[in-house]
Structure formats: C-alpha cells, structure tokens
C-alpha cells in the first residue's frame, strides 16, 4: 500500500478553468512522486458569494437547511471539473461528493462538525489507481440531510479525511507561502517558518495569522496528522509544516509574534465583592454567545468591598454585551462601565517557552523600554499576551520580533536542507 497524500485547494486555486488545469498538474506531480492522492476542493472563486446573493434576493432570512442545499452545489461543480481536467491530462480520476464518500456530520446546518468518515469507497478507488477528488465544506447526516461545515470548512474536510485515511500528510495549498513569524505586511523581515507545532499554530491563528482555520488545526492535532501549508502558485516552495511538538526538529523559545486589533476592552467598575458575582457576569455573556478572551479581576478595594472586572470581547459583540450589563446592573451593583476600543493584543507564541524562565520578563521589559503601557496581561503554556494602545501595536510587534531573534537574517538555521517533497 502506498502512502496517501491529501491535497486541498481553496476557491482561489480553482477560480477558473485555467487554474483548475494548473491544479491538475500539481496533483499529477504529487502522484508521480509515488503517492496515492486524494484531493479536496472548495467551490470555484466567488461561487459562494454569488449563491448567497441569489438567496438574499429571495429572502433576507433563508433557512439554514436550504442554504446548505444551495451552497453545497458549489463543490459539485469544482470536483467534476477537476476530475475532467485530470482525465484530460491522462490521469485516471473520479469525483465524490460528501454523500458518496460518507462524510457524516452532526444534524446542525451551516456549521456542522464531522462525526465520522467512511473510507472504503475511497480506498477502493485508490486501489484502482485513481486520484479521488472530494468535495470539501460539505457533509451529510445519517438521515441524508445535507450539511456544511462553516468557516474553514474545506480545510477541516481535508485534514479530517487525512486523519481517517491515516494519510502521510495533508497539504493545504493556498495563496500564502506558509506561516510566518509575524504578519509580513507589518514586519517586512518576518521569516517563513519551516515547522510549527499545532499548539503554536492555534495561538497564532486565533491571534490573527489566518492561514489555517483553528478547527482544521484542532482536527489535525487529534489525529496527529502533519499538515503542510504551501503555495498553489509556487509548487517548488516547501511552505510550513504543522505537526506535533514531539515530531519537531527544533525548539526556539518564541516562534512568532501576533497582533490582534479585532477586540475591545470593557471595564466594569466597583462590582460588589460577593461570591458568584463574576459567575453571574460571565454566565450572562455566555448565554448571549459572546466569546471572552482576556479577563482580569483587580484586587478588591477592601474599604469599599468592590472589585474592577475587565475583559476583552470581539468588537462585533459590543451591543449584545452592553445589553447583558444593563440587565445585570442591579445584581452586580457596578458604578460605571468603560469601553476601550483603541486597543491591540500583542502575543508572543512558542512551544519552547515552557520551562524557560525569563521569556515573559523579557517581553515586558521590551515594551517598557519602548514606553508602551501594558493594560492587561494573559498567559498560557505557550503564549504571553499583552494589551496595549492600538497606536503602539506595530512598533511593539517589530521590536519583539527582533528581540526574540525572529528577523529573517537571524533564523537561517530553519531554512537549511529541506526534504525533497
């Protein structure tokens, strides 16, 4: 049995028939390296936007079930065309939609999670020497309802298929060339990483480095499937390999620096210092489906028996959050609410910071030397985040990038001899 490689191509990679022919060449290139190949594709280019507009022309509130029926047609087109392009280039190929494969999901429309993937038909086709082209983004419930997986759905389909097939690797072809130590648009000397761990990738992705959806990373971590992010348009490039810490060759203390401008900070002042007050507040926010990122409760002001509670949320949730606070006013007995939307969250991420003291201190000292005030701090095993003024964000990222040795001239070591894949 040959090693299986799963390749995933997004909408921009299959946006027109010429691009689809290019994708066919990338698939055949992989097959000629001696692998069995399974390809996952998204809908062509702007198909999803066009279909969504049709639905909105019909009604402002289309039902979720019918949206899934509508949107799932997009991948039906791209898998058929890619299979034709492969056949036209002399490569035996067959397309399969989620129903034909058996990509079983929860009974939830527009954002279902995959429960199970049948592999028998795929393996049969692979044994016949075929390339199997599978529709991403879509699934099916056990009573044949069509579902879609929501944002990052095709990436998740590809990684989940790789896991179910025990694939050697899942290659995510995209319009970026890999994962960088920070956003190259902010720091021009950002370096492309050869490797990054699942954990680091999730922290960087949720911190704004949107190369691969966190759900896809999580799925890869579950199966311990290596995922390579690479460029559709530069097939020779190695890209970045995302894998388990245990398989990594090299641990630098800090792998990347991220900034996130999408949040705002809410400070609730002089909350009664009673047991259960924080629970009431965050239960109320959770009931409205508001995700909280950082939370700080200041030391209680003993003389007043009150606390200040500060937290950050996504900017789009501000109206819902203020509604919750209004409703809880009598219970929490707070004096004031301050909202600060001129903030940025700056994070350093690295699996190597575990057990290396001094990383956090070095970050704080760097910001202090720049005269940047830290408004909140949050830490996890592999990440340290500081909330700062938005105006200081880029300067902070640039300097931290240099201080932690991530500028491209500093990390030539990670660009050494690459395996020929």
């Amino acid at each position: 049995m040959k090693d299986i490689i799963v390749q995933k191509f997004g909408g921009t990679s299959v946006a027109d028939t010429d691009k689809i022919k290019n994708v066919a060449r990338a698939v055949i290139r992989e097959k000629n390296l001696g692998h069995d190949v399974v390809v996952v594709v998204s809908a062509m280019g702007h198909t999803t936007d066009i279909l969504t507009k049709l639905a909105k022309d019909i009604t402002p509130n289309p039902s979720a079930r019918e949206m899934d029926m509508l949107l799932s047609t997009g991948e039906g087109v791209s898998i058929a065309l890619l299979a034709m392009a492969l056949q036209a280039q002399g490569c035996d190929a067959v397309s399969m939609n989620a129903m034909q494969v058996g990509i079983i999901t929860e009974k939830v429309h527009t954002k279902a999670r995959i429960l199970d993937i049948k592999t028998d038909k795929i393996r049969k086709y692979l044994d016949e020497g075929k390339v199997v082209v599978i529709a991403g983004f879509q699934g099916i419930t056990d009573d044949y309802e069509i579902t879609t997986l929501g944002r990052g759905g095709s990436d998740t389909s590809a990684v989940a298929l790789a896991g179910a097939l025990e694939a050697e690797r899942c290659d995510i072809y995209t319009d970026v060339e890999g994962v960088y130590t920070t956003d190259p648009r902010i720091v021009p000397c950002a370096s492309k990483l050869k490797e990054i761990s699942y954990d680091e990738m999730m922290e960087l992705a949720s911190g704004g480095a949107n190369v691969l959806h966190p759900r896809a990373v999580e799925t890869a971590m579950t199966h311990n499937t290596p995922v390579r992010v690479r460029s559709t348009f530069k097939l020779e490039d190695y890209g970045t390999l995302i894998l388990g810490v245990d398989k990594m060759e090299l641990h630098r203390p800090v792998t990347g620096v991220a900034s996130d401008m999408s949040q705002l900070r809410i400070v609730v002042c002089d909350v009664k210092d009673n047991p259960g007050v924080a629970a009431s507040l965050f239960d109320g926010l959770a009931a409205e489906n508001i995700s909280i990122d950082m939370i700080i409760q200041s030391y209680a002001r003993k003389e007043l028996h009150t606390n200040d509670i500060a937290f950050t949320i996504d900017k789009s949730d501000i109206d819902k959050a203020m509604g919750v606070l209004e409703k809880l006013k009598s219970e929490l007995c707070y004096s004031n609410v301050f909202v600060d939307d001129k903030i940025a969250k700056i994070s350093i991420v690295g699996a190597g910071m575990v057990g290396r003291p001094g990383i956090a201190a070095k970050m704080f000292r760097t910001l202090a030397n720049l005269g940047i005030n830290i408004k909140m701090i949050a830490t996890s095993e592999i990440k340290i985040s500081c909330l700062v003024d938005k105006d200081n964000a880029n300067k902070a990222v640039e300097t931290l990038h240099t201080v932690f040795g991530l500028d491209s001239n500093e990390i030539a070591d990670v660009k050494g001899d690459l395996p020929n894949v």
Copy 2:
C-alpha cells in the same frame, strides 16, 4: 389523505429570482385549493449551457460520469431557492435532491431511465403539511452514482413521481399555453385542445409538436396519470389535459395536424431481391444507433429481381447512414443511392380515426386537390403520415387543418365549461 398534485416548472420558469417568486405563488395557489403539492424543478435558465461550456473549456471530451456530477448541481440551486421563496411567502417547504428522495435509475450516464422511486420520505413531509420541492432531471444508481435522465428529463421526473405517488394529476408548467391542433406559427387559426390522449400526444410530439417529451408521455401512459400542460405565465388558463382514451370526453376523428421538417429520405435502388437483405440494411443502421421513421419497399421488379428500399432518418444521421451503406454495398448489390432532404412529413393524428373509414382517403384527396405529390405514406392506428415536398408543407397543413374541422371557429365545443382547477 389529500389528493397529491405534482407541478413541474422548467428552466425558463425559474430563470431568475423574480420568476422563482412567481413560481412560489403558483405553488401556493395549488396548495390553497386543498391539495398536497410536490414540485419538480429544472435548473435555472441557461445553467446547463454555462456548466457545459465550463466542461468544454476543460476538455472537448468530458467523461459522462463527471458531466452528470457537474450538471446535477443545477437543480440543487433551483430547489433550494424555490424552497426559500415558499418559506418567505409563509408556506412550509423542503427541498430534496434525487439522492434524498431515492430516484433510482439504471447505471447509465447522461440518459439513464428511472427504475424506481421511493416515496416514504416525500409522504412523511407531505403529512407534515410541507410542500416538497424535488430536483428534476437527476437520479441515482443503487450504489450512489449520480445520473441524469437526458432530454426531457425533468418532465419525465415529474410524471414518474406523479405515478409513484399515485397523484391526482401532474401539471407541466411551460412557456406554451397547451397543445394545439397544429403549430400556431404555421396556422394562425390553430385551436388549443382541451384534451388529448397519450397516444395522440406521442404521435404529435414525435411529429414535431414538442410540448412534452415522448418519454414523459410514455411514463404517464404507463401509470395512467393525467398530465396537464399549462402556461407558467397565464395561471388562469386551463391548458391541455393529456390522459387515457378511456377517460376522454370527446372523440373527434382527427385531433391534430403535424409537420416535421427534420428528416430526409434515402432511396436505395435496385437492391437484390433475396431474403434477409432488408434485415441486413436495417441491422446495420441500428448498430450505428440511427432511428428509422418511415420505410417503404417498392414492388419487386420481377425481371431484374431487385427492389427499391426507401426510408427516412433524422438529418443529423446522414453521414453515419452513408457510411453504413458504403460498407454494405457488396452485400446489398444496390445500383444507386438517392438522398432527398427537401421533404416534409405531414401527419394527421386522432384516436378517433380507429374504425372510421375514409379518413386516409380524405387526406390523400385533399393533397391531390392541392396538386401535391405524395412520396411516401405510413400509417398507424391513430396516425396517417405523408411525405411531401418541403415547399408544400405549410399549404398542406393549413388545408388539412380546415378540412378536418380543426380551425378555431369549428371546435368551440371543446372550449365549453372547464372544471375549476
């Protein structure tokens, strides 16, 4: 249990979102009459052409399997949008593709025939008070391969569903207002028929009155399902009801006059008068999938021991037919082949001509009075066809239409009180 009405709307009826909203109104109108309603729709407008062009951009010879995968996406879009439009107008509705229904076909791509239709899920939805919107044109094999039904596929889907559901009636909504005694573009005083039998409809349809595909009529006849052809854009119109002769109210000897310009005539001269010669010729043509319409073998010329064999085929098959004749030249020993493409087949059709002598003679006499030479004659139980010069076709149709009492002022009787449906 309520009576079930199956409604079918073609591509022009759902060409844009405004038209889809109109279709929703026509569906709700039927539901408000107290019926359970199942709706079958085709792909929107030119979708099939657009998808076919994409495939041709990829390769001049796309595989049939992948073409079916590609084309079947078209109905996925229209069923979802129509279900949304119904919901937006307050009508509970659900879309189903062929896989979800279980429209089982042969394992043949691009022109599969329906073998079986499961009705349990449809009935469950109807029992819940929902309108069920089903994708036409597509099917699925018992191992989940996607198939399409070929030309007239959506009509066939609708009629077959009506049969399987034992529906009260199948309404085919289209851009014509019904079935006419002859082509109104040729004879302005052509009358719309209130009723026509399956047999008559098939003879008229294959004679050029392309309102409903013969396969759909055949399917309706098998289940004895009444089919009403009616206008999408004039919902108040009764249209034409196609039904079994046994259920018809009124039998005129001639129901319609058709002309067909799509054929040409081949005369094979001086074929050896041996047993099996005609069989060889028509076996050879059948092997190339060439449909023969009329056949005449002239009286053998005793002194030469030869026959002339004349037959008509579709113009598009001429190259294949000439190839067959070339190959059989030594076996048939014919002297010459004449091809005549300036012909028209004029037919009169009527279930009522059975057992009424003189109809054929009246047709021949009418043509003779016009000075029109008859090149070939063919008859069936309910049809008499004459091959004439193309230039005489319109004159022949007009005069026959008048002679057999079909001009609109003559058949006011069929436009009497119509049932309120």
